[in-house]
Every structure is written in C-alpha cells, then in structure tokens.
C-alpha cells in the first residue's frame, strides 16, 4: 500500500483523538503563559539564526547554482564556440546565441567559430544547470553568485560582456590570434597555459 492512499478508519480515529485535547487534562492558564515567556527568555541566550543580509552575505555550498560565467583560456581567448548546445538544452528557453566565423582580424575563440551574441535571460532561467552540462568546451559554468535581482526587466537579460569571466593575470583581451604554433586542438587539450607577447594586438 502506498503512503499516499488513505489509511484504515482506525488510523483516522486515532488522529482525531490526538488533535482534540481531552478536557480536564489542561494545565492552568498562568502556567501556560509562563511556559511561553520562558521560551522567549531562553532564546535571548541562544546564538541568533538571522543573517543580516545584505550587510552579511552567506557563503553558499560550493556547487550552488548561481549566475553563469563564460570562461576564458589562459591567454584570454573565449572558450565559447557559439555552438548553441546550451540554448538547446535549456528547458526554459532562457539562452540566445548567435554564432559567427572567427577571422584573422577577429579571432575571439580558438578554432573557426565564436559567439557573436550570447544572452541569458534571468527572468526565465531556472538555474537547473542543464546548460553547463551541455557545454562541450566548459565555456559555460555557474558561479556561486546569487545576487541577480534588479529593478528593470531589460537589465535581467545579461549580455556576453556581463557574463564573461574577468581577465586574470597574463590574459589578453580578445580578439587576438591563437598562441603561436598551436591550433584549436592544443587549446582543447589544455596545452595553452599562458599568453604570448606576440598575441598582443595593438587596437
């Protein structure tokens, strides 16, 4: 018998008996009040559970599904290849991607293809994480950041610039050529670990 099905009639009777207090067994009203005050009083000596948000920001669990981030390779090139698999996987239709060719003058990611437009609509996103599972290059991951709320609907459509990971030490702002002597496979295998001075393009 499943848990959802109604129990036998005796179980119902028993439940009724528990919920209705038997008369004559009540303690005096005064004692009852005292018991209530005691709870209040005792709580004053307990460690408070309230978090003073936004002054205090709690740590999330390490795998908490926060807002997304578009990652970069060690030389600054974007990992995103604009394949739209994230958009495809998204059950809420929150992601919009437009791919484009990488050209010699405009090399944004290793290989042939990059995302010209990348948008995540946080009005729609349900933070299920299917998109990051779908990403073939680990370009899309989720951070632990949860402060996404805003006061305009338009502001909740995050563009590629908003989602891209910041440039860390040694990274160069794309577009710039791939690391000399490498191809896109080297990037996918993790062989590019830094940028090369020759990659710097005067803009």
């Amino acid at each position: 018998m499943s848990e959802l099905e109604p129990k036998g009639s005796d179980a119902i009777e028993r439940a009724n008996a528990e919920s209705v207090p038997a008369s004559g067994q009540e303690s005096a009203p005064f004692l009852k009040q005292l018991k209530g005050f005691w709870v209040t009083f005792a709580t004053m000596f307990k460690k408070p559970l309230t978090i003073e948000y936004p002054e205090v920001k709690p740590e999330t669990q390490p795998r908490f599904h926060g807002r997304h981030q578009l990652n970069r390779y060690a030389d600054g090139l974007e990992k995103c290849i604009g394949c739209e698999l994230c958009a495809w996987a998204c059950p809420a239709d929150a992601i919009y991607v437009e791919g484009e060719n990488n050209t010699e003058e405009n090399q944004v990611s290793p290989g042939e293809r990059h995302a010209k437009v990348y948008q995540i609509n946080y009005l729609r996103c349900i933070f299920c994480g299917l998109c990051i599972e779908a990403c073939p290059t680990r370009a899309l991951t989720m951070t632990n950041e949860y402060e996404i709320a805003d006061d305009k609907r338009e502001k909740l459509i995050w563009e590629k610039e908003d989602l891209l990971a910041p440039l860390r030490q040694g990274m160069l702002m794309p577009p710039h050529p791939m690391y000399p002597g490498t191809d896109h496979h080297s990037y996918y295998r993790g062989e590019v670990t830094e940028s090369h001075p020759s990659q710097e393009v005067s803009k």
């Binding site: 394949c83 739209e84 958009a87 495809w88 437009e98 791919g99 290989g111 042939e112 293809r113 073939p136």
Partner: protein, 782 residues
C-alpha cells in the same frame, strides 16, 4: 501516368521484407520497397533521384532468393527486387543489424566529433543514424585523420574534407542532374576526398543542391555558416520569386530574418532541386535602401517621410486628377497583379495597364492573349516529348528548372533538342542541342527551317522571341502545322500570373478579351461596376511615349526598373505624376511623387503562376512584419479615391479571382510577317540575354553568390576576331551612339554577323549603357 498505363507498362513483383509481403513494380530497389512498408533502412549515399552507387554500405540487409541466401549482407540500395525474395533488415536480422553497426563504426573512425561547430548538427543524418543504428561506444582509440578546413570549392560552398563520408551524392548530383561535373572524388583509401578540377572552377548554377543533399556537414553554404541551429528556425513552405520555373521552397527564418532557403520537394515541378539564385538570393529584402515609410515629394522637390494617410491622400488626388496608366512589373504575385488589373479598370477607368517591364511588342501581346493565357503545357510534356525546340530561350540561364528537366531527359533517353540561337551556349552544349544559327531578330526565318516536329514535340519560346518581328507568329504557325505543343516561358515569376489576372491592356481577368462585350459584362457584374473601358489599352512602350507627349499625366508603378525597358525614360517620368509601390529605393523612386513601401515576398502570402500555368502558393514567412502587400495598398488607395476595389486581403483577392473562372474563347491571332535584320560590314548585330547570376536587383547583398556568376565576355566569331585582329581574351569595345561596353572576347562558332554580350551583368548593362539589347552595334578592338 494513368493507372491503366502503369499496369500495362510495368510488371509487378511480390517479395517479403521482415515477414511482410509487398508488391512493387519491377526494377524497384529493395530499400525503396522497404520504404513502402514503412521500414526505414539507414542510408547515406542512396537518393531516389540519383543513380544507385552503393558507396556508403550503411544499408546492408540479409537477402534470400528462392531459399538461397546471399553469403554476406547486401547493400539494399543497389539491388532490385526479385520474385520470391526474402529480405531481413536490421529489425529482424541480427546479422544485418551487426553489419550496419560495423559500417557505422568504420564511418565514424575518421569523422571528427566536431558536431558543436558543424552546421549540420541537429539535422544530420549521420548524427541521427549513429544514434539509431550505431554502437553507443567507439572502440577506436587512434588519431583521426585531419585535413585543413574548410576549403572553398566555390565562393558559396565550403568543404570540410574530414567530415566527408564519401557517399558521392554531391559528385553524382553534379554529373547526373546538373551536368556540371566540376567536382569529383580524388585519391584513394583513407585520403579519398572530394576535390575540384584545378582548371575548372565549381561554377555550377546548381551547386547549392549539393549542400542540401550532403548527409553530413562536409558541404556547407558560406552564407549560412554558423548562423543558426535547426531549432532556432521557423520554416515556412514558400515559392521562389526569382523565375518562372515555379520551384517549391522552404524559407527558414530566425527572429524576423531569412537565414536560408531550401529546395522543396515537388515531383511535378522542381523535384528536389533548385538553382543557386533561388536558394541564396534573399538578402535584397534586408538591404539598407529598403523603404520603410511612405515618402512624398515636398515643394523643394525632395522626398520626405510622410504618414500613410497623407501619402495615400496625395497619391489618390494625383491619380484622380490626371489621366493615369499602370505599369505592374513582372514580379507581382497573382493576387497583386489582379489588384492592379482591377484598380486600373475600376479606380482609374482605363485599360492602359501592362505588366511587361521589359522589351516587348504588340505581336507578343496578341500572342499572349491567343496562345498563352490558359495554356496547360507542363513539365510532363517535356518528359514525354519526342523532341524539343527552343527559340529565343536559354533554359539554363532563364529558367533553370526547365533546363534540369531537359537535361534529365537528354541523359535518360537522348531527347533530341534543337535550339535557335546565335551560338551554342554552355547550356545548349550540355543538352547536346542541335543549333540552328540565327542572329537576334532573324529567329522567325529560322523557325521555318525546322522540320520533323510531331504532336508529341514541344516548342519552348522565351520572352526574348518578341524581339524578333514575326518570331512568335512563326512559332505559333509551326505549332499549328505540326501539332506540337507550344509553351511560352517568361523570365520573371509574376508574368504568367499577370496575364491570367488581366494586368495587360487587351485582356481582363481569366483571359477575357476587353473588346468582347459579353466578357466585359461578365467582369462588370462580378465587380459591381457600370462599365469597363472597351478599347484595347496602351502597352508599356505606348504608355511611356504617352508620358512624353503628355497624353498620360500620371502613372502608378509596381516593381519596375525603367532601365529594364529603355534608357530614355527619365524625361517622360519626370514630367508625370508617379506613384511608386516599391520595396527598395530605385531609379524610379527617385523620380516618383509618392513612394509607398510594400512587402517583399517573404513578408506576405500569395501565389505565383509558373510558366505551366500552375499556381505556386506561398505563406508569410516573416509573420511579424509590419509591411503591407501591394494589394492591400491598392485597396487603401482605391478607398481613398472613392472607388473601392474591395480586395482587403490576399485571401479575398484569390477567392474573387477564382470565382471569375476562365474564358474559353481565345481571340483570333493576326500573324506578323517574318522579320529580317541585317547590318553593314562594319557593324555587328548585338544579341544578348540575361545570365542567371547577374546584376539583377533581387541578387543584391549576396556576395558569395555573386562570386560564382560567370564572367562577362563578348562572344565573337573567328572571322570577326581575324578582322579585328584579336585573340581570345583581348578586349573588344561594343558601342552605339549612346555608350560603349568593353569586355574580353571569347571566340566561338557564333553566327557571323552577330556579337553576344550579357544583357545585365556587372560590366555589361546593355540597356543602360548602349540603350539597346539587340540591334546594330559597332565593334572594335579596345
């Protein structure tokens, strides 16, 4: 083919597939017989319209004939059915299933796992069949073969060789369907790859089909590369607006923008093919010079933006106050053309309407009324013809699907084709056509030399035949004397529909002659008007002359480029009050007093009537477009003028037009005498036709397509080359009093007095530069 014919011609064979009996005509392939039962055998190389090749081996099945089993699984796409055959596919035979999985594993060994960056991802037969008929895991651990990628096999088709599974669909298509064997399989073994000939570029007009039939992402279109995934696209069945072939198409739209168009599957018309122009020319809709708001000319003579009510009011007042005429243009849909036809008669009370925005003649108009309207010659007649005569018509350039049909019959049963032209074009060469040499203008005389046509023959005349006096008369006479079928094939998609809709001075809708009182009464009753003008209206040339002389003071113009007709129109148009319904800015909108923006084909619904007289319906592909069709605007304009045409929607126009029905009686044709043109020794006779890919305004914005346009050359005869002292490739200068065109020459076996140049290509705009498209010109060495 009727059922009776089918049963008398073909023997039926019964066989068993997966335990089910099926009866199919003799010669059917096993894979096709299985399809009849709904049994899907995986395949890559197999294509119903290409010869079987058995290249990919994916369709292996177990076959037993009369109790004797083939020792190994067989490719079901190459084996025709036999009586008593027992076939076991992957569904019932573990051996076949294992064989298919093995083939799939081998195909995937060298196929890269780059689906995320591959355009085919999501609609890829290899992806799908690897899921349905492959192993979950690969046992291969070595390195995959790689190539440099991608390589351009033409400016619009890209090849990723590592993705190729060597099914040979593209090479077979090029050879068997298009007759352009410019690509082939090179090398052997693991290095085998599709390659182009070093000397011959892949300049096929049909190369886009190879992209569509490639079962993997090896061939992709340059313009669509990385633009979208199948799930992004909203697909709408549509019809091609580029020529009168009438291809069925599919338009794929992403966020209000057409991203690609594919050939639809219509076995009666385009089979599964289309030409590159139809496939890739759609960016004209999104060009910067698109008109988005009504424009009116202010006091300083400048066009300024205006509101719809204001623009409509000015247009209505101008058309009402002046004697007006209508030029429709050849690109209107049937419904729009019907709107123009009704507008001219009801609102402007005139028969001065003509859809022929090109060189035309009076003879042609009579010919259209007598032989074209309601004509039912179709592609099947080409399939069954015992011979075909082409006059003033280059199928490959002017109606590519007609070319594919002719080529199919030439290849299948050596259909004899005769062409009357100044020289053998590349298309005629491919068709193995017999050439009757004739200078442009002398076709009528050449037609009389044709003999041996029967009632199963087909005469296909192009719209250019009207440029030769007596040409259409001679073709009609030949058809009458031989019993051959006669069809007129215009170049533009809307021309045949415009005739049926009555957008011409001598016809009312449904082929009713304006001079016939009972025909007029018919239309008057349907339209609820008191009278319709009974005189035959002016044709395009007369309308333009009348503008010059001031007999007509106002003009309503659909999609017309005056430079298609004559270079001398400027003055006449500048004098008149011109209302232009246009998509984009043109030479004409610069002269117009009121410009009203209209919807492009992808933004409206409607139908074209192709050369067969077959309606080709299409739906609105870009649903949220705010533009209005010509018909809607004409309706608003007529309301403004107080003479409503009551055609608010395309559906209303289609319904009203259908309810009119057609007029059975054709007017008597008055044949014209045979014309003859000749030139002095110093001059040459210009002949020209438009190439499929040229400087046409509907091809604007698609540079990848323009890259495969054939280079402009001047074709001259050997004797002329000698006289001029030029060799092939030297520049020659073709000139009239008005201007000159300089092109490299090509020496060919052309009719001796003739010179041929493209009519409207980048360096060769004949009408704009020379003022003529046929006739005498001077030719000198440049």
């Amino acid at each position: 083919m009727s059922t009776q014919e089918l049963s008398t011609q073909t023997e039926m064979i019964t066989l068993t597939i997966d335990g089910f009996e099926v009866t199919v005509p003799k010669g059917t392939l096993v894979i096709r017989a299985a399809e009849r039962l709904g049994i899907q055998i995986p395949r890559f190389c197999d294509h119903p319209l290409l010869d079987p090749v058995g290249a990919c081996r994916q369709c292996l099945v177990e076959i037993e004939i009369n109790g004797r089993k083939f020792p190994k699984p067989q490719a079901s796409c190459t084996i025709p059915v036999e009586p008593g055959m027992v076939v076991n596919t992957q569904l019932t035979s573990p051996v076949a299933d294992k064989a298919q999985q093995g083939v799939m594993e081998l195909l995937l060994i060298n196929h890269p796992l780059d689906c995320p960056v591959c355009d085919k991802g999501g609609e890829c037969p290899l992806q799908n069949q690897a899921m349905s008929n492959g192993r979950g895991e690969s046992r291969y651990e070595g390195y995959k073969r790689t190539f440099e990628k991608p390589i351009n096999i033409s400016s619009q088709v890209l090849l990723d060789r590592e993705r190729c599974i060597l099914c040979a669909r593209c090479t077979r298509f090029s050879e068997q369907i298009a007759g352009d064997p410019f690509i082939t399989l090179n090398e052997r073994g693991a290095l085998q790859q599709v390659g182009i000939y070093e000397k011959d570029p892949f300049e096929s007009y049909f190369s886009g089909n190879t992209v569509q039939i490639c079962p993997v992402g090896a061939l992709t279109g340059a313009s669509y590369r990385f633009r979208a995934r199948p799930f992004d696209l909203v697909s709408t069945p549509s019809a091609c607006e580029h020529c009168a072939s009438g291809c069925d198409m599919r338009t794929d739209v992403r966020r209000g923008k057409t991203l690609r168009r594919l050939a639809g599957d219509d076995p009666q018309v385009n089979e599964e093919w289309n030409c590159d122009k139809g496939r890739w020319s759609f960016k004209y809709v999104t060009q910067k010079d698109r008109i988005t708001t009504p424009l009116v000319r202010d006091k300083n003579g400048e066009l300024r933006e205006a509101s719809w009510p204001e623009a409509l009011q000015i247009a209505a007042a101008g058309l009402e106050a002046n004697r007006s005429a209508v030029l429709v243009g050849g690109r209107a849909t049937l419904e729009d053309a019907y709107g123009y036809a009704k507008f001219a008669r009801v609102a402007l009370k005139t028969n001065d309407i003509d859809f022929r925005s090109r060189i035309s003649s009076k003879e042609e108009r009579e010919f259209l009324a007598s032989f074209v309207v309601g004509n039912q010659v179709n592609y099947r007649d080409i399939d069954r013809a015992d011979q075909v005569l082409l006059v003033g018509f280059e199928p490959e350039e002017e109606s590519p699907i007609v070319f594919l049909r002719l080529f199919k019959q030439v290849r299948k049963r050596a259909l004899p084709i005769t062409t009357i032209a100044p020289f053998k074009s590349r298309g005629s060469e491919k068709l193995g056509a017999r050439l009757i040499k004739s200078a442009a203008g002398n076709e009528a005389g050449a037609i009389s030399q044709v003999a041996g046509l029967t009632d199963r023959s087909v005469i296909l005349v192009g719209e250019r035949l009207c440029e030769a006096m007596g040409g259409l008369s001679a073709a009609a006479a030949l058809a009458k004397s031989s019993g051959a079928k006669l069809a007129w094939i215009p170049r533009r998609a809307g021309e045949r529909g415009a005739i049926e809709a009555g957008a011409i001075g001598n016809l009312l809708p449904g082929g009713r002659p304006v001079t016939d009182a009972s025909a007029r009464v018919d239309i008057q009753t349907a339209w609820g008007v008191d009278s319709i003008p009974s005189n035959v209206g002016r044709d395009t040339t007369e309308i333009l002359d009348a503008l010059h002389s001031g007999e007509i003071e106002a003009l309503l113009v659909g999609g017309v480029d005056p430079l298609d007709i004559s270079a001398h129109l400027h003055d006449g148009l500048a004098k008149a009050f011109v209302v232009s319904l246009e998509i984009r800015k043109s030479a004409l909108t610069e002269l117009a007093n009121v410009v009203l923006p209209v919807a492009a084909v992808v933004e409206k619904s409607g139908s074209f009537v192709n050369w067969e007289g077959r309606a080709r319906y299409f739906d609105t592909a870009i649903a949220d477009s705010l533009t209005r069709s010509d018909l809607r605007i004409l309706s608003m304009l007529a309301d403004e003028m107080g003479t409503p045409i009551k055609l608010p929607t395309v559906a209303a126009a289609a319904k009203e037009f259908a309810s009119l029905g057609s007029w059975e009686k054709r007017s008597e044709f008055q044949p014209m005498p045979v014309g003859n043109v000749s030139v002095s020794v110093d001059e040459a006779l210009l002949s020209s036709w438009r190439l499929l890919l040229d400087a046409g305004s509907l091809q604007d914005g698609e540079n990848n397509l323009a890259g495969t346009a054939h280079p402009s050359v001047a074709v001259i005869s050997e004797s002329r080359a000698k006289k001029l002292g030029v060799v092939a490739g030297d520049l020659v200068r073709v000139s009239t009093k008005q201007g000159a065109i300089t092109l490299p020459c090509e020496i060919s076996d052309i009719e001796d007095s003739s010179i041929w140049i493209p009519r409207n290509s980048e360096q060769s705009r004949t009408i704009a530069t020379l003022g003529i498209a046929h006739g005498p010109v001077m030719v000198v060495k440049a």
